[in-house]
Amino acid sequence: MAEFEPKITAFVCTWCTYAGADLTGTSRIKYASNVRVLRVPCTGRIDFMYILQAFAQGADGVIVSGCHPADCHYTSGNLHARRRWVVLRRLLDFVGVDTRRIHFAWVSAAEGAKWADLVNSVVSTVRELGPYDEYRQAIPAHLIPGGTAA
């Protein structure tokens, strides 16, 4: 059987991390191709439901990344988001969601190498954890839209 390839969903802000990931590419830095990048205006735009939906629809890990504190294009979107993450992490941990699969980071537009390192390390962590079937098994097979789980 082929080695398990984790699917990682990354929610990144357009101003810093998306540009940083772009820099990774233009710098010809190779990194794991397991990540699907979803661009949002700001980390403050990330509803926590995005993370739950990602897991429900087949992600084995999630990365949330944006501008460093004080670098936010909208001044404080990332700082508001940080407060929500503190609360969210505690709540998800309390209900038994595997928080080792949710990774938060600040990656600026100049940190192409940091983005590559981040993705590589998340991919290797999640690869060790295996597929997040436990989460998706909470949906009975006949109720999964479009057939079987991804």
């Binding site: 926590f48 439901m49 739950l52 939906q53 429900a56 504190p69 004080a70 404080s76 700082l79 508001h80 940080r82 407060r83 929500r84 993450w85 503190v86 609360v87 969210l88 992490r89 505690r90 709540l91 998800l92 941990d93 309390f94 209900v95 038994g96 969601v97 595997d98 990774h103 938060f104 980071a105 600040w106 981040l118 436990e134 989460y135 998706r136 909470a138 949906i139 009975p140 109720l143």
Partner: protein, 267 residues
């Protein structure tokens, strides 16, 4: 009891209040909400250990607002709900009179937010030792067991939304669960969708929940929903030093920030 009847009668006779929201005799020995609009019926009000429900949920209902100024029979949770609603601009100064039955048999009448703020204390906002012990017990379980525990709880959820209906702070005209473009909360009744619903509710009440426990009390299948709110309350008070429902002018813990907020989990 007679002090409560007299006060209610006076308020209604003088026209100071158009309706007294209190407790009356229900069926099978229970207490139920009672809306007294006629002074002659003030004697139907009861107040005893059965009267635990947080009646402030009715203050925002259009049909109750339409009756005019309300007096509400309350307890500490009612006071804190009103302060939280006031801080969210849902209740105006002078909209409501609170009648606090006292243990000696008297009734304390509170009309202004300043008086309500005086009547509540930070001690009311703390988790009780029993609540704290319950949280710690669940938190001490291995992660997989916590997951199984909550999945078993959520499996029973009927999505009746009694938790939402009973909550004084769940007043959105359109709730996210009724939004279907996109469909945030899955319609089919499975544990994951049920969990989505309860997590959404907990997150939307984060920093706002005053911990009256009405959601768990209203739940027909006895899911301990208040624990989800309590764990958030513990985190918010521990990390940000904020408590809901202690002030009519406080800002909401998650709509503000400090540069020193916890960030050890962020790379």
């Amino acid at each position: 009891m007679s002090a409560l009847h007299d006060t209610a009668r006076q308020l209604l006779e003088s026209g100071t209040a158009a309706v007294v929201i209190g407790y009356g005799e229900g069926t099978a020995g229970s207490a139920r909400p009672l809306f007294v609009r006629d002074a002659a019926r003030a004697g139907e009000l009861v107040f005893d250990e059965r009267c635990v429900h947080n009646l402030s949920v009715y203050l925002l209902k259009p049909e109750v607002k339409a009756l005019g100024k309300a007096a509400i029979v309350g307890q500490p949770a009612t006071l804190r709900s009103i302060l939280q609603l006031a801080s969210e601009q849902q209740v105006k100064e002078g909209d409501v009179i609170v009648l606090l039955p006292e243990t000696e048999g008297g009734v304390r009448q509170i009309g202004s937010f300043a008086e309500i703020e005086e009547a509540v204390s930070e001690a009311d906002a703390q988790l009780s030792p029993e609540e704290k012990a319950c949280l710690d017990e669940i938190a001490a379980l291995p992660r997989v067991d916590r997951w199984r525990f909550w999945q078993q709880e959520f499996t029973r959820c009927l999505k009746c939304y009694a938790c939402r209906a009973a909550c004084p702070l769940c007043y959105c005209a359109q709730c996210i669960v009724e939004v279907n473009q996109p469909q945030w909360i899955p319609v089919p009744p499975h544990p994951l969708g049920n969990m989505d619903w309860h997590l959404v509710r907990a997150m939307h009440l984060a920093g706002r929940c005053i911990g009256c426990g009405e959601c768990a009390r209203a739940c027909p299948v006895d899911i301990p929903l208040n624990l989800l709110n309590q764990v958030i309350e513990e985190e918010i008070s521990g990390q940000f030093g904020a408590h809901a429902g202690l002030s009519a002018s406080a800002s909401y813990a998650l709509s503000t920030f400090t540069t020193g907020d916890k960030d050890t989990f962020i790379r």
